[in-house]
Amino acid sequence: MSVLWPAIRFAVNGEIREVYAPPMKRLLDVLREDLHLTGTKEGCGEGECGSCSVRMNGELVNSCLIPVLQAEGAKIQTVEGLAMNGKLHPMQEAFLQCGGAQCGICTPGMLMAAAQLLATNPHPNLAEIREGLAGNLCRCTGFMRIFESVVIAAADDSAAIAPEEARHAR
């Protein structure tokens, strides 16, 4: 059945991937089903909760709202692309230390939103952190420990560099 669909090529976490999928299939489903990158989660399917957040061409997007055809040629980063060489990304390290993750289902999207925030604003103030994460709902933490995680990660200058960029920099 897949041969009926045109090939769509894009880079995920620095690797070129080719999928054969209906052009209107959600990027979220392509990541999870076709590429088996199940770290990206579905929470609402309508762009409200941010659990499916990924970075695409340097922007934060809800992958449940992106038809895969729109990803043609794009550079995509998912939660699986944050840690490098078996070492947690400073943002992941900060979440672990500060209690930024509880049930963990919003965590991949929250990490991507936080990584995006630091990539565009390496030293955000609290108001900017709140605004930067306002599209990502967490029902467990009350957000306090997530804010603290971002503050701690922001103190580590390497946190602002997306792994994909770090890879190219080496």
Partner: protein
């Protein structure tokens, strides 16, 4: 006394046990799992609130030969979900009692096709009259449940309330209401089932209570214990919402698997989860209170009613906890609480963090401020004059044997929030400003563990073992869903065993692997199950000392070496422990008298709120939470529990409104059901006082539900302080504030003016 002066692991901020997996995105939730040859299931639901099913037709536009179709006729065992009352069918049989009731299940190899085919099943009904409000159920016409619509009632009495009214200096009467609340865990309900004649039924799913699901599967499939297996997958939030509903979903997926011969996955999307699964019980609480001239409570008379929905689910136990939390942390010689859970044709209500307590604590704590206003006393002073002290008796005549420190908690909360200075300043500033600020307080308790004799009935069994591979495991059926079960129970085991935290793991949450240590509910995991793990661990050390030469001091490696010597000499390295009630516990289930809970967590919360009289928004600006929860086992996780509970409580008070249509949720999307975001939650300041409880794990009491109890009354008390207006109903949305603040206007007229 089990509380050592110092501990190595308990009380330390060790890393969350499953934290790295969650942060790497490799933690495995149910929708991340694929089984070989797996099909997808979907549910055809009733479109009317009550009626007789006349026919079920399958549209010929669909090739049904590709599908598996299941109805009530396919249920091999009993067609009801095993819980407290055998009233809720697994699949509707001949009649429906609420909208969205499951009637037909379908499965297909293609996830998209099965969703589309749901609409091609047409069900015709002969409608019957339906009821939705508590007041309609009270009229008992029509009767929609049992003989009288009454799911459960309690009468709690202390002293003689009616002897007091004539001599009271003040009598204050008010009515309070609370709305439904949706859990809004970010992971929807989901389950995978695999059935075979040889092995029976196995399910993997997002759930809180493996053995609840286990019992339901046994009765629906009529299978012996050895042919039912329940495995919890990583669970993305629960809050009580995955206490009972997973049993329904597991049975549904199991039936489809049995008939199709394939593993079947059923994962709800957000709209289905919101419309079909349980929510917090709406309530109506009427208070009539007598006081003497000094503001001392003479009598508390409470009439409590909850809306249970179409089936009993957990309504009786929710009502019990609501009843036992309705009179607050106050001494009163005469108490009467008459409580009733009423059946309606709403989608059934169920467990939600706090389990009835947030409803009645909202009423009591709002009422205290109403009394204060009515008798012209400072609400803080009124509370102080009535707090329970050492040796006092509660409404159930439980003698308070723990040190009572409400005054201390209150002092600290007032100091941390700078309460009196701020109140004075706000009172001066508010006159000239459109944005009016106020402070509100709530003082309350939450009982830890099951009510009354509940823990004895549960008879929980927990243990620790060491596998031949050297894995030190905690054996419990208590589950992790964000609150920290894995971390605190392995901390407790590591502490008691005297070994490294990193070496202790949780046995898989799988009914084939772990004993029934009871459900993960009721703020019982730290206190009750933790204590069992502590005792089992200490027992294991005693065994190793006696039979394997373990010395007084040892390293983790020496401990593991001793385990191997023990295995060679005696066999499996295993220690289990069964629940024993603390001594002197007495509870009369008929009269509702005695030790309602073995321990209580105590709290004083302060909310600072700004009410904008132009936009009619109420913004919580800052929040202070002082509590005594026994020993804090993990400072980061404990504070995270408090903050998360307060955020949900803020939502309950001023954001989250379920809109009903024919008894089901009309605003069943995250776009329309609004929870507070990162921009809405104020700074939350959390403080712990620690008084170790001698029957809890290393002194722990319950913590998980407490923080949901206080925010709503504190916030509405603050709004009263800011505006002078008493709002006695939640959720309180801007249109409700408008109706109160703009006299002569109603929320409806606002709606109309906005529409125009």
């Amino acid at each position: 006394m089990s509380t050592p002066a110092t501990t190595r692991v308990v009380g330390a901020p060790v890393p969350r046990k499953e934290g790295v997996d969650k942060l790497l995105g490799r933690a495995c939730y149910v929708d991340d799992i694929e089984r070989e040859g797996m099909w997808y299931g979907a549910t055809v639901r009733s479109t009317i609130p009550r009626g007789i099913i006349r026919s079920i037709a399958f549209d010929r536009s669909v090739d049904w030969s590709e599908f598996t179709v299941v109805t009530a006729a396919d249920v091999p065992g009993e067609n009801h979900i095993h819980l407290i009352t055998a009233d809720q069918p697994c699949l509707a049989d001949g009649k429906v009692n609420h909208r969205e009731e499951p009637i037909v299940l379908i499965a297909h190899p293609d996830r998209n096709k099965v969703r589309e085919a749901v609409g091609a099943v047409q069900i015709e009904y002969d409608p019957l009259p339906a009821i939705f409000a508590i007041e309609e159920s009270e009229r008992q016409d029509p009767i929609v449940w049992g003989a009288d619509n009454l799911i459960k009632s309690f009468l709690l009495e202390k002293g003689d309330v009616d002897s007091v009214w004539a001599q009271a200096a003040h009598i204050v009467e008010r009515e309070y209401r609370t709305g439904a609340q949706e859990h809004l865990y970010i992971e929807n309900n989901g389950m995978i089932a695999e059935y075979s004649a040889q092995t029976g039924v196995t399910v993997w799913g997002s759930l809180q209570c493996p053995y609840y699901v286990f019992k339901s599967l046994r009765s629906v499939f009529d299978l012996p214990e050895g042919k039912v297996r329940v495995i919890q997958t990583e669970t993305g939030g629960a809050f009580g919402g995955k206490e009972d509903y997973p049993s329904n979903l597991a049975c549904h997926a199991g039936l489809l698997s049995m008939k199709s011969g394939h593993p079947v996955k059923m994962v709800y999307d957000r709209m289905e989860d919101l419309v079909a699964t349980t929510k917090r019980h709406p309530s109506r609480v009427r208070h009539r209170t007598a006081l003497d001239g000094n503001g001392k409570l003479l009598a508390i008379d409470i009439d409590l009613a909850t809306n249970g929905g179409a089936y009993a689910t957990l309504s009786s136990t929710v009502l019990s906890r609501a009843t036992l939390h309705s009179t607050g942390p106050y001494l009163c010689p005469n108490v009467r609480v008459h409580s009733r859970a009423w059946a309606t044709n709403m989608v059934p209500f169920g467990a939600f963090r706090g389990f009835g307590a947030p409803q009645t604590i909202f009423a009591m704590e709002r009422h205290i401020d109403e009394i204060a206003a009515a008798i012209g006393m400072d609400p803080i002073e009124l509370r102080r004059r009535n707090f329970l002290h050492d040796g006092d008796t509660t409404a159930t005549e439980q003698v308070m044997r723990e040190p009572m420190i409400m005054d201390r908690l209150l002092d600290r909360a007032l100091e941390e929030s700078d309460y009196y200075a701020k109140r004075k300043r706000f009172a001066e500033e508010n006159h000239a400003r459109a944005v009016k600020r106020g402070l509100g307080v709530a003082t309350f308790y939450h009982g830890s563990g099951f009510t009354g004799s509940g823990e004895v009935v549960l008879n929980s069994l927990a243990g620790v073992d060491v596998t031949p591979e050297g894995n030190v495991r905690v054996l419990v059926s208590n589950t992790e869903f964000g609150q920290g079960t894995n971390t605190i129970l392995t901390q407790v085991a590591a502490e008691a065993l005297g070994i490294d935290y990193a070496r202790v793991t949780m046995a898989p949450p799988d009914t084939d692997e772990v004993p029934n240590s009871g459900p993960t509910v009721a703020s019982r995991t730290s206190m009750v199950v933790g204590r069992l793990v502590e005792r089992a661990s200490l027992q294991l050390i005693a065994l190793l000392r006696e039979h394997a030469g373990l010395g007084a001091n040892y390293t983790t490696e020496e401990f593991l070496a001793a385990c191997e010597r023990y295995r060679a000499a005696k066999g499996a390295v295993l220690s289990t422990c069964r629940y024993e009630a603390p001594p002197g516990i007495y509870w009369d289930d008929k009269k509702y008298r005695g030790e309602a809970y073995p321990a209580y967590a105590w709290a004083v919360y302060v909310a600072q709120v700004a009410v904008d009289t132009v936009t009619y928004s109420a913004e919580v600006e800052e929040f202070w939470a002082v509590q005594e929860v026994g020993r804090v086992l993990h400072p980061v996780l404990a504070a995270g529990q408090i903050e998360g509970g307060i955020a949900q409580g803020i939502g309950y008070a001023v954001y989250e409104k379920v809109v009903w249509q024919d008894g089901s949720m009309a605003n069943n999307q995250m776009t329309n059901y609004i929870m507070p975001t990162a921009e809405d939650i104020p700074p939350i300041h959390v403080y712990f006082e620690q008084i170790p409880f001698r029957h809890g794990a290393y002194g722990a009491k319950g913590i998980g539900e407490l923080p949901h109890d206080g925010p709503a009354p504190a916030i509405l008390n603050a709004i009263r302080d800011a505006t002078g207006l008493a709002f006695n109903s939640i959720p309180l949305l801007p249109e409700d504030l408008f109706a109160g603040l703009a006299p002569g206007q109603s929320a409806q007229s606002l709606q109309e003016s906005v529409t125009l």
